[in-house]
């Protein structure tokens, strides 16, 4: 088995047993990035020098026998995480000159685990998009078919791991931005419970929905990386002060006796036939392994997309006000006065999709519209929450497709934002309710990966990872590499 086809966990074991050094592993991935990235556009910044320094440090640590399972394993961070001394662009012209003066908590913790930073990955601008086409740095291409999108907004991280130019990568998920690209590129995309991972240093899109997670090759990798980045952080008031279980040690729990609920609303019109078939087959296979399956209705779930497109833009319209050309980021040339500085810095610094959402958000919070939109959306949000709560009184996990279709063509949906928004129809619910969810590869349709989504109650990360791991022990979809990147 070649090095790059190894999972992060396998690389970690290889490092621990001194089969190779971290410097060797890191060089291998840096070379692969150099060869493959021009076609994929997965990285905004490659931090080769920093990577080799990290690797040397990791090797010393391993030599002293002080390493952990991730020490010396390379990773990539989505360019939404602040990295001290390194460009942190958030996929935007607005921050194309922004060298962060500090590390995000996620970055700090994975650094402390001894991981090696390969670089920062491309993403939809400010994480607003489902195809990675809104990036200031241009679209990312799907390694399974470079004419197709990798999904978004964590499209760069997904493409990088799918093409095995990085063993594992971080992502963020506000409405599906880890699970959807995970599904479209054949990866294990894990979004934890809201509050499980600190948001400090993660540039905010919609604060009540944003959650950091992992794009990985396997449930085991996701368990290891999540375990290293999760936990309470006093710098984020919404981070939850609860102990982090040893996710990796809980993976082997069998699915026998697991109560699976199938979300009826996820199998209606709009679900592409091949995707539906693959997902149903996966659930049937789990039933044969000893799980029980029942169909459930979450009647308010179809309201997820409209609810999300009120709540998320509202929060983003306020979160993005700090980008005003005064203290950091893009500033227009020769502003005439203050208003001109604001207008042109923001007008020139933000792309079309970001502006669309800022305007939508400003509108729904305006006097006279607040009750009709924002307040109503919050009420629907709590109804969706209640739907999930009721469902979890009956079942352990909910299942359904991650996306309605496999990856679509670059440019296919860019003219129709509504069509684009509907791509997240199955993923948004978990964000609105703050639930953990994972997408695992469960088949190929016309050579493109399809994802099975598993959603659990709050803080059921361990259960979700065990289910994903059981599925991956029984199948090899997660070990298939895109042709051309083997």
């Amino acid at each position: 088995m070649s090095l790059h086809a190894a999972t992060a966990a396998e690389i970690g074991r290889g490092l621990a047993s001194r089969q190779y050094s971290s410097v060797e592993v890191t060089r291998h991935f840096l070379e692969r990035i150099e060869r493959a990235n021009p076609a994929l556009n997965a990285f905004v910044t490659v931090t080769a020098e920093r990577a080799l320094e990290d690797a040397k440090r990791a090797d010393l640590r391993l030599a002293r026998g002080e390493g952990g399972p991730l020490t010396g394993v390379p990773l990539a961070h989505k360019d939404i995480f602040c990295t001290s001394g390194i460009l942190t662009s958030c996929g935007s012209r607005m921050l194309a000159n922004f060298v962060a003066p500090y590390d995000a908590t996620v970055v700090e913790r994975l650094d402390a685990a001894g991981m090696v930073l390969l670089g920062k990955t491309n993403m939809d601008e400010f994480a607003m998009g489902s195809s990675n086409e809104t990036s200031f740095y241009g679209p990312v291409r799907n390694p399974w078919d470079t004419a197709k999108v990798p999904g978004g907004s964590s499209g760069g991280s997904a493409a990088a791991v799918a093409a095995r130019i990085a063993p594992v990568a971080t992502g963020t998920d506000t409405g599906g931005s880890i699970r959807q690209p995970g599904a479209l590129t054949g990866l294990t995309g894990f979004k934890p419970t809201y509050g499980r991972v600190s948001r400090y240093g993660m540039i905010a899109f919609a604060s009540s929905l944003d959650q950091a997670g992992v794009l990985a090759q396997s449930a085991e990798d996701a368990a290891l990386v999540l375990g290293a980045m999760a936990g309470h952080d006093a710098r984020d008031s919404t981070s939850v002060d609860a102990p982090v279980p040893d996710y990796a040690s809980g993976l082997e729990k069998p699915v026998k006796g697991l109560k699976i609920g199938i979300i009826r609303e996820f199998f209606g019109d709009g679900l592409e036939a091949g995707t539906g078939t693959a997902v149903r087959a996966a659930i049937e296979a789990l039933r044969k392994e000893g799980a029980t399956v029942e169909e459930l209705s979450l009647p308010n779930l179809p309201l997820s997309v409209p609810t999300y497109y009120v709540v998320a833009p509202a929060e983003c319209s306020s979160n993005l006000s700090r980008f005003d050309g005064v203290r950091f980021g893009y500033r227009c040339r020769d502003p005439k006065d203050l208003l001109d500085l604001y207008r042109r810095s923001r007008g020139e610094g933000f792309g079309a999709e970001v502006k669309r959402r800022i305007m939508t958000g400003t509108y729904v919070l305006s006097a006279g519209y607040y009750d009709a939109y924002y307040l109503k959306a919050q009420k629907v949000r709590s109804l969706i929450n209640a739907d999930f709560r009721r469902a979890f009184e009956r079942v352990d996990v909910l299942m359904g497709p991650t996306t309605p279709t496999p990856a679509f063509g670059i440019g296919a949906k860019t003219d129709d934002p509504i069509l684009m928004y509907l791509n997240d129809i199955y993923t948004i619910g978990a964000n609105l309710a703050g639930l953990p969810a994972v997408s695992v590869p469960c088949g190929l349709v016309d050579g493109l990966p399809v994802g099975l989504q598993v959603i659990g109650p709050h803080f059921s990360e361990q259960r979700l990872l065990a289910v994903a791991h059981a599925w991956q022990r029984a199948t090899d979809w997660h070990r298939r590499l895109p042709p051309g990147f083997a």
Partner: protein, 480 residues
Amino acid sequence: MANDWETVIGLEIHAQLATRSKIFSGSATAYGAPPNAQASLVDLGYPGTLPVLNGEAVRMAVRFGLAIGAAVARRSVFARKNYFYPDLPKGYQISQYELPVVQRGEVEIVLEDGVRKAVGVTRAHLEEDAGKSLHEGLGRASGIDLNRAGTPLLEIVSEPDMRSAREAVAYMKKIHTLVRYLEICDGNMQEGSFRCDANVSVRRRGETAFGTRCEIKNLNSFRFVERAINHEVERQVELIEGGGKVVQETRLFDPDRNETRPMRSKEEANDYRYFPDPDLLPLVIDEAFVEEVRAGLPELPDAKAARFAREHGLSAYDAGVLTASREIAAYYEAVAAGAGEPKLAANWVMGEVSGFLNRDGLDIGDSPVTSAALAGMLKRIVDGTISGKLAKEVFEAMWNERRDADAIIEAKGLKQITDTGAIEKTIREVMSASPGQLADYRAGKEKLFGFFVGQVMKATAGKANPAQVNELLKKLLAGP
């Protein structure tokens, strides 16, 4: 006629809370640091940073709530007030909007005629202050100083209960006293730690509906509050009597020109788009915390004044003056206890001490005559060492030389002569020096008694004990 009109005033007071660090970051709040020396990444609104609530600010807000008998909200919510301004780094101010931490309460003010009046406090909420824009000395550019950005404020909103500028000032002074008693605000108005906005309207006497109000922003002295309100009332009355209408707007007071004028409408045409801040969880306060804070409350000014009146026999007015600040009250109490004569202590603190402090522009804490020193001097009055009249001279020397009374009395030889033999000797000398007057007195001209007292006092440079002089004189003048 101005008498046909009634004024209605409500105040929004901003008290800067005396926490060491900011409300949502660990930066220091000290005044006067070089620009931006106290602005962290959080204060600068850097991408990815998040607010973390300072528990001390909450404790201070609860102290205030309990002191005005208000309900402390078990759950309150921080919202974002969205607007663009260079000294507002995040593009929004975090402030409690729909659910404030302190709800309805009340304070009592005492008017000049001694009438007491209750003023309702609608609410008090926590919020962060903005930075400052600097427009001087930078050529065409403007500077931004974010040291103040994120400083905790308690915004105290009154009911429209006040009916004159004087009532408004009395209320503002009352709150000023209270926040300093509670040690939640230094009350420094020059530095902007305590400032207010005044909502002013007028209506014809007898009307029950409110007139259209104007808000006068950023008044940072008691004097300005009084003047600004009076000018605004005058303006509104003239406007209406001239057939015009008051427009609801925000105005600024210009103390140099003694007028209020509208702020540019651009600055107030904001739709703030308030919504709950998703970065902060609702603030939940439990009963145990409230009780803990209650247990730590100091004796409040009203209670202290009542106690002074009751236990020290002071008038309500004197008790009020002596409790205007915690420091004055403590000074007075120490003097009263040390001298054992509360009324005498009260007279001296309100008289000489406050007169000298005013003259020299000092605070009671800086008084050259400490409470112990003053008590020491009062004891010398009580025990007859010095007369009340000489005491003023002693006090002035104590003030200037920072020495205690006994040292001054000794050095200046001001000690009262109480030795009967010495006084008798002086009287005999005076008698032999004035044989004519003595003969007249003995012949029945008793008015001459005063003449002899004067001569004796003159001869002893005022130091002879007057009571003893009287007694001995009577005896010696009467016969051989």
